[in-house]
């Protein structure tokens, strides 16, 4: 199991457009990825490909989230997903 932390860069938080862009990106990777707030225990982690889960997570601008995955290429995939979260997707 690999873990990466990311700080939400979008001004509105992980909602609406930023959540749609991120969920779509996770949906395209070949492994399962979970997401949780840094303050939440691992068993509360949710499917990061689900926009509905992402929105109910309620991550605001500046919040730190933890992405988790295992399997081939997991580290590289997590790194690329962190970059998406750390970009202000409202500005895209």
């Amino acid at each position: 199991m690999f873990e990466r932390k990311a700080t939400i860069a979008s001004r509105v938080g992980l909602h609406a457009r930023p959540a749609a862009i991120f969920a779509e990106a996770v949906g395209e990777v070949p492994i399962d990825v979970t997401i949780a707030l840094e303050s939440d225990p691992e068993e509360d982690a949710m499917d990061a490909a689900s926009i509905l889960s992402l929105m109910s997570l309620g991550a605001s601008n500046g919040d730190v989230v933890v992405l988790r995955a295992e399997g081939e290429g997991a580290e590289g995939i997590l790194d690329s997903l962190v970059r998406i979260l750390e970009t202000d997707l409202d500005a895209v």
Binding site: A16, R17, A20, A23, G27, S50, I51, L52, M55, S56
Partner: protein, 561 residues
């Protein structure tokens, strides 16, 4: 020949073929189970295929949409293939349900969960239900809800348009709008006038029109005829020719005797303002600032607000721009400002009243308006919506003064403000009549309801009397403070004559209407306008007021208005 009669809300005579808005998707029977001939795997495969094609369709629409509509469509596209949603639907299918019923129930649970989270998430529950309707329509092989797609322009017929539909409406593909519901102030009517599309609302029975039927629509008379006659074909051709001459306004609103009635534009942002200035508008009579706030989860920053307002001021350098402060509530809810659970939002905490429950937002907005005005030459006036008492007017004037804004005013939308306008104008520099809300409050008739369309006419003599009383209040106050109109009534050329006759000083409207209103105003003198206003006030009903005034304005029929 079959014909239907409704309320004409936007003039124009056209002939076209009917396309019906697809009916709302009906609920699959509760407990509907799969026939033995369909395996669970087949049902799951059908669901996944439907999800992909709904996602593709929404993404395609997102690509051509702008701003907030684009963000909503992108998010909704992703919901269609949401693993959490599909996983719970698959579980139901494996338990024996049909794909339709499974996705129906799975979406309902998700929507309920979002609803219980409240605020912004509760609003997204509506998006989940929209996706559900699309998925079920796709599974059934019936058209998706929403505006039909077509390469050939058509007459759109439906029950009523929702604000979400109007966001995706392509005016180049639509010849006219006809609805069985809605009223003169409904979203359908407002969007039709803004786009210059002929429209008839509250036309009972048009739901029975079939796709492909050829109809003649008269948006001034409010009639729809199936199978046009030779006369109607000629009328439609004459309208097309006349419409071409009714698109130019020379920027000088006046009556035949030279009496000036400046014609201003209602705008919602810098892009609108540039178009309005190009259309000849003599200023902005209503800048709807909520367009800068709607669809936001948070109050926009001072920088965002200043940039949005300055864009409008720069388009009207040296001219008057009347800014209406935030008018949230009722049909324009905002998550950070209004309470969605009010039992009666039209009579609730809306407009100026949100300053009582969320103090600070209005003060910051006034500061942003003042900052945006700095360095521009626009003559910036500011008015508050939903003012009901003299105290409110005085308080708003004090807030404007504290922000350094020198021309404070009020909207007259609540009948109490019309009745006490002399005292209210003692506190502020001007008043602007919002006829849409003034009508709904004077007649106690929700402006969105089709069955109340006849009550919701600004031709109601009681509404015209309230307008007359507001002007009389200004005369009694003694300083000649201007009373303008910025509601939809100003865009109706016949009503514009009546308003001028009642002593209204400026008319503000959708820029589309400027040329037609200017042309008709120029056909009458002030005395003639006063006489027509007197006739309208004395009429026993809205219908007769309109008929009598129109009879005195033969130019209307000649131009097909």
């Amino acid at each position: 020949m079959q014909s239907y009669s409704g309320v004409g809300v936007s003039p124009g005579r056209i002939i076209g073929t009917v396309r019906q808005m697809p009916r709302p998707v009906s609920e699959p029977p509760v407990g509907q189970s799969r026939p033995a001939s369909t395996t669970a795997d087949e049902a799951v495969a059908a669901l996944r295929a439907a999800a992909s094609s709904v996602q593709a369709e929404l993404k395609r629409r997102a690509e051509v949409a702008q701003g907030n509509a684009k963000a909503v469509l992108e998010a909704t596209a992703q919901m269609a293939v949401d693993p959490m949603l599909l996983k719970s639907a698959v579980k139901l299918i494996n338990g024996g349900a049909t794909a339709e019923r499974a996705v129906w129930d799975a979406s309902a649970s998700v929507a309920e969960m979002l609803h219980n989270l409240g605020g912004y998430m509760a609003d997204r529950a509506t998006d989940v239900l929209d996706v559900r309707a699309r998925l079920v329509a796709e599974l059934r092989g019936v058209p998706a809800p929403g505006i039909p797609q077509s390469d050939v322009p058509f007459v759109l017929v439906g029950e009523d348009l929702a604000p979400a539909d109007t966001a995706t409406l392509d005016p180049a593909k639509i010849l006219a709008l006809v609805t069985s519901g809605g009223g003169p102030q409904s979203h359908t009517a407002i969007i039709a006038r803004a786009l210059g599309l002929p429209a008839v609302v509250a036309a009972v029975g048009v739901d029975a029109l079939v796709d492909g039927a050829v109809v003649y629509v008269d948006g001034a008379a409010g009639t729809v005829h199936v199978g046009p006659t030779a006369d109607q074909v000629a009328a439609a051709q004459a309208w097309t020719a006349a419409a071409a001459t009714l698109t130019v306004f020379d920027g000088d609103g006046r009556l035949a005797d030279g009496h000036r009635v400046p014609l201003l534009a209602n705008v919602g942002g810098a892009k609108d303002a540039v178009a309005a200035a190009a259309a000849g508008a003599q200023g902005v009579g209503l800048l709807r600032t909520e367009f800068c706030f709607l669809g936001r989860d948070l109050e926009p920053s001072a920088e965002d607000q200043i940039a949005a307002y300055r864009g409008v001021f720069e388009a009207f350098a040296g001219k008057k721009v009347v800014v209406r402060t935030l008018d949230a509530g009722a049909d324009k809810p905002l998550p950070f400002l209004t309470d969605a659970s009010e039992p009666n939002p039209a009579l609730g905490v809306r407009g100026y009243r949100t300053d009582w429950t969320s103090p600070g937002v209005l003060e910051r907005q006034l500061a942003a308006i003042a900052a945006a005005a700095e360095g521009t030459t626009a003559d910036v006036w500011v008015m508050a919506p939903m003012i009901a008492t003299v105290d409110e007017a005085a308080h708003f004037a004090a807030m404007c003064s504290a922000a350094g804004l020198t021309t404070p005013g009020v909207m007259v939308e609540v009948p109490s403000a019309a009745l006490t306008s002399a005292s209210i104008l003692g506190e502020v520099a001007f008043a602007s009549l919002g006829t849409n809300d003034l009508t709904q409050y004077a007649m106690a008739a929700d402006r969105q309801l089709g069955p109340l369309a006849a009550l919701n006419s600004p031709w109601q003599p009681a509404v015209l009397m309230l307008i007359g009383l507001t002007v009389a209040g200004s005369v009694a106050e003694g300083n000649g403070k201007p009373v303008g109109v910025c509601g939809e009534a100003a865009a109706d050329p016949a009503l514009a004559v009546v308003l001028a006759g009642l002593g209204v000083s400026t008319l503000s409207m959708t820029p589309r209407a400027l040329a037609a209103v200017a042309t008709v105003l120029r056909s009458v003198s002030l005395d003639e306008a006063k006489e027509l206003a007197r006739l309208a006030l004395a009429a026993p009903s809205a219908t007769q007021a309109r008929a009598q005034v129109r009879a005195g304005l033969p130019i209307l029929d000649a131009l097909g208005l």
